[in-house]
Symmetry: D2
Subunit: 349 residues, 4 copies
């Protein structure tokens, strides 16, 4: 007798699901449903080998995992890559993350002024970008550092993004701000410092939106997937994982970008994976090479910081790209994706 | 011209403080006040050497730091060790953390039942303990792990602690729970996973209570002090720092206890420092030796987990001490404190 | 007065060098010559600003570094990328590492048999490879693990490589083996475990050969350059640096491949940099993606392990590529190099 | 059928050992003897459960480990703490490491002059020390740093130590120096940088002397025991393990002293364990507190650096204790040992 995870077929209707729940009760075991959004996608139940074999044969049961998966919603489920659709520019326009083409998410670290936002958005859209990142709330180390403009600048961010038909990616730091951020953003970001903040994960999940989840600087890949599980369990429609550097020992860089997280996550999950080389290294001259490397490693996209006057940025200026470099970043991304996709496809076999 | 921190004398009245603010304006510099609780304790201002010298001579000015201290409230301020008083048992009873004798904070990881709480509290009080720790909210990695009893068990915790005249130490995870936790706890705990969660730090600070702040698994000592600065800046009356292990590379232990943080923090702050050897190593047989080591390294106390039935604990059982071991822990703490205090005093010169 | 490094023009003759030494003596300072192979390439001397300016103007002086460089021979010297030529196949054939095209070094971890060597060499040469790696001495953790065939198999390695017109890359572990290894190898390898082994570095340097230097698992980039400095100072004709993963905290991979070391080393040295994704991750399915990422990050090449029967390798089998995959690795390397080279060139500005 | 380790009784004679080897052959399995010095102390053999049970019952067999121990000589063998005797002062005088009283090994990092050595030795002996450490060969990061006086100063070290009746602890870096170092030292030291240098370990083992083995900055405890296994396998009479700090991420200290290594090694081996707080933290004011902590954690001793003119030391001066502090270190060590020994003994149950 041990705990097992029973995963259901993707489009099982409610009646069939209730039927399977009754079957489990008849087997005499206590079963706990696994929810994803409004749907029950599986059960965790204590079963012996015979019971597990019986359940595996039932119509509507996709798989019975012999170990209880620590993250049944976020981990491998056997349905192929999950493509996350993010609204970009209008209700009818969407960008796919995890689809055929890698995405580039760009924008300033923090929202400083309308002029700065406008300049960045124009450059991002001009280079072919569809998703615009900018921080209204900044989780700064010191209480005296610039902490972002807060809710007041969210409307400005939305307006600028709409003008350039860009989707908005922005971080939410406080469970009490989820409503206002969700009202202005297309992809809600959980930052590295709050990846393990369960109260925040739960509240963001309840907004039933796609979420960009950044890996904490000392989190294992399993812990990253557990945070994604919290989000999906609470109702998040989708999760995009983001590697952004772990804590390293060498003062030569701000963080140690763990690019192998990309192929290693592929072994564990079908969720899309992107890479943030700006925070991941923290040295401007390394951003373009590491963005290239991320795409070559098979990432579904990159997220970078840019600034109209890179040396003057109010936060994280030392790693921001100048706007002139963006077209080269987009061109490089496409060139490498073209060079690599055939062999990557085969390598994943 | 560069940014400097001007620290004021401890009991400067408002008029004198406003006078110094006017002096800074007259010097032609923009000054930003540093608040601790309701009081202005200093200014950050851009000054040349001459201006700094002039300010240093003024009545009411304690020190002018030539570099702007990244954490003027939490860092060294020259006033000797700060002793944190925590209510323990009744309105008139207090325990001092950072005073002459080291403290032992003990209790179960999570509140599981009245019986478990009662057994632990009796053992802690019986061994001579004054502070009782127990978690109502547990920041578990998985959404399927036991997450604590929540607000419903807080009243039970308070009642059990009162019966044994113990102060209550418990974690708050969500900014929206600060009110209810503050109503039941004597020392509010910020856990390692949320150390950098600025929204939580700010809200806990506003409760104007003493706070136990645990170091995040990849935080530098400077980042720990910055989190303390957030708390003090927002109004926390006091902060006790807690080393609880950083992320290590050796699977032999759950975390890598960085005990040198104790003497290294002494070089940076007068806030009291305690050590949690239970989470810090995560292996039961190492808890007593490392508690002894913590006191020998000069810590102001230790915090340990215990459980009436250590093998059956619903969370972190592998590191919980059995209740029978508590008297030995208290005896050991006092024996080492007696052996070490004379030489430590001199070593700190 | 402070210590400075005076670097000489590349082809200064002995008389001019002695003249500059006399000039330093006349300035009244004690100067220590910096040797590279048989040549004096500079001096370290204590000079005031005026003396430094005077020396900088002298014919034959290339640069005067105001700080004494911790690694004047291995660090930036301003002469553009250093291309390392390695004999490959015959006395007239050479491969360039650090030139226009990235190199792929491949072969088995350890030499197990003539059949295994022959199969690997045939596959490497067939895929277009020019450099063949195989270990005769293996620095195994346990004294009971297979430690390689030792000097007896070196002649076999040489013979097989010659038959396929491949250059030989092999590790030397013991200062007393340098002679025999140098007699059979074209590029002498210093492994990660012995990177800081000064006795070995010195002896290998004295062999006056090109050396492949792997980064130790906890070495900073500065420490890697210091090890290169030991080699060059002792007489090594050239050094190729190799990133092969640092110690990480996540059991998901054997090591944490620090790919940003490639762009970060470019800021510090003109020595060529290659990457070993086999040891760097230690998970077979990640080797091809991370080899691709290395080239995209700007590396001068990759070094991988392969084995005719990957599951049966006597050491490190879990990360060895099967021989059938080699052509795809070579094709991928060239495709990415073509995609990336134009933008990398500009990014390096 | 799987690999097992068969450990023999401590004083089994050769005839009985050969008899057991024949028994294994009769069981039809291939057995490999485990040598310690000149003696066979066990066998590694592939056995089924029945064969293992049969061997376990034989006279002369101490234990049959069901898993093949990765380090049968260095790991737990069930015979109680191994006390290492080191000659100190004369052929009849010995110090016990791992016995009842903790030892303090002290001396300068590097041998600089007769005066410096003499002053240190006098202070160490005066404080009650029996073992004197000083480096003749220093594994410096840079080829331009002071690398020690080499073999020329070893005789001076021996003479000074003899005059003060002290045992000599000194590092050997190069396999070719083992003979000369062994001729002058009582306890041969393997440094952290060369812990995994198999050629050196083997040669030092062959000297059949007690060895002090320092943990490499990124070595797991299992890797440390494997290095000890290499030494014992090659003939070392005894090994003393030394924790000296692992690589950390916080620039606040040079290394991260992993003091929990002491109780965690107790779970794995009976070899004595000492701690080097000088290199382990690298900050002078932390040395005494961390030496105290090491003894409280149960270490068998500490090793510290001291210098007659601490600010002027030619290497590692920032962490050297002044000679005046030594008596306090010895007093503190004894005071804590007295305070802790009773409870430690029980804690180890």
């Amino acid at each position: 007798m041990r705990q097992r995870t029973i995963l259901l077929d993707e489009r099982l209707d409610d009646a069939a699901t209730r039927g399977l729940a009754r079957d489990l009760v008849r087997l005499g075991v206590e079963a706990r449903p696994l929810h994803e959004r409004d749907r029950v996608v599986g059960f965790v139940a204590v079963l012996d080998d015979e019971g597990a074999a019986r359940m595996a044969k039932k119509t509507g049961v996709c798989r019975v995992l012999s170990a209880p998966s620590p993250h049944p919603l976020a981990g491998h489920r056997g349905g192929g890559p999950r493509v996350v659709r993010v609204r970009a520019g209008s209700a009818r326009d969407h960008v796919e993350i995890g689809g055929d083409a890698p995405v580039v998410i760009a924008g300033p670290c923090a929202i400083e002024s309308l002029e700065q936002l406008e300049a960045c958005a124009r450059a991002v859209a001009g280079a072919g970008g569809r998703l615009f990142r900018a921080g209204a709330y900044k989780p700064r180390t010191s209480p005296y550092a610039f902490a972002g403009g807060g809710s007041e600048v969210l409307a400005m961010l939305r307006e600028v993004a709409d003008r350039h038909r860009l989707g908005v990616v922005t971080e939410v730091l406080d469970p009490r701000d989820v409503g206002i951020v969700a009202a202005h953003a297309d992809l809600l970001q959980i930052g590295a410092r709050t990846m393990a903040d369960v109260a925040l994960l739960r509240e963001v999940g309840r907004a039933r939106r796609p979420v960009l989840l950044k890996r904490a600087p000392a989190a294992t890949l399993d812990e990253l997937l557990s945070a994604a599980e919290h989000l999906l369990h609470a109702g998040a429609t989708d999760v995009v994982l983001c590697e952004r550097g772990v804590r390293g020992f060498d003062p030569a860089s701000r963080n140690l970008l763990d690019l192998a997280a990309v192929p290693l996550l592929r072994l564990r999950t079908e969720l899309p994976v992107i890479v943030d080389p700006s925070h991941g290294v923290g040295v401007r001259s390394a951003v373009l090479p590491m963005a290239a490397a991320a795409i070559a490693a098979g990432a579904d996209g990159v997220m970078v910081e840019c600034h109209p006057d890179a040396g003057m940025a109010r936060s994280d200026g030392v790693q921001a790209l100048s706007l002139e470099v963006l077209p080269r970043l987009f061109a490089q991304t496409h060139a490498i994706a073209s060079a690599i996709r055939p062999s990557m496809a085969t390598a994943a076999e």
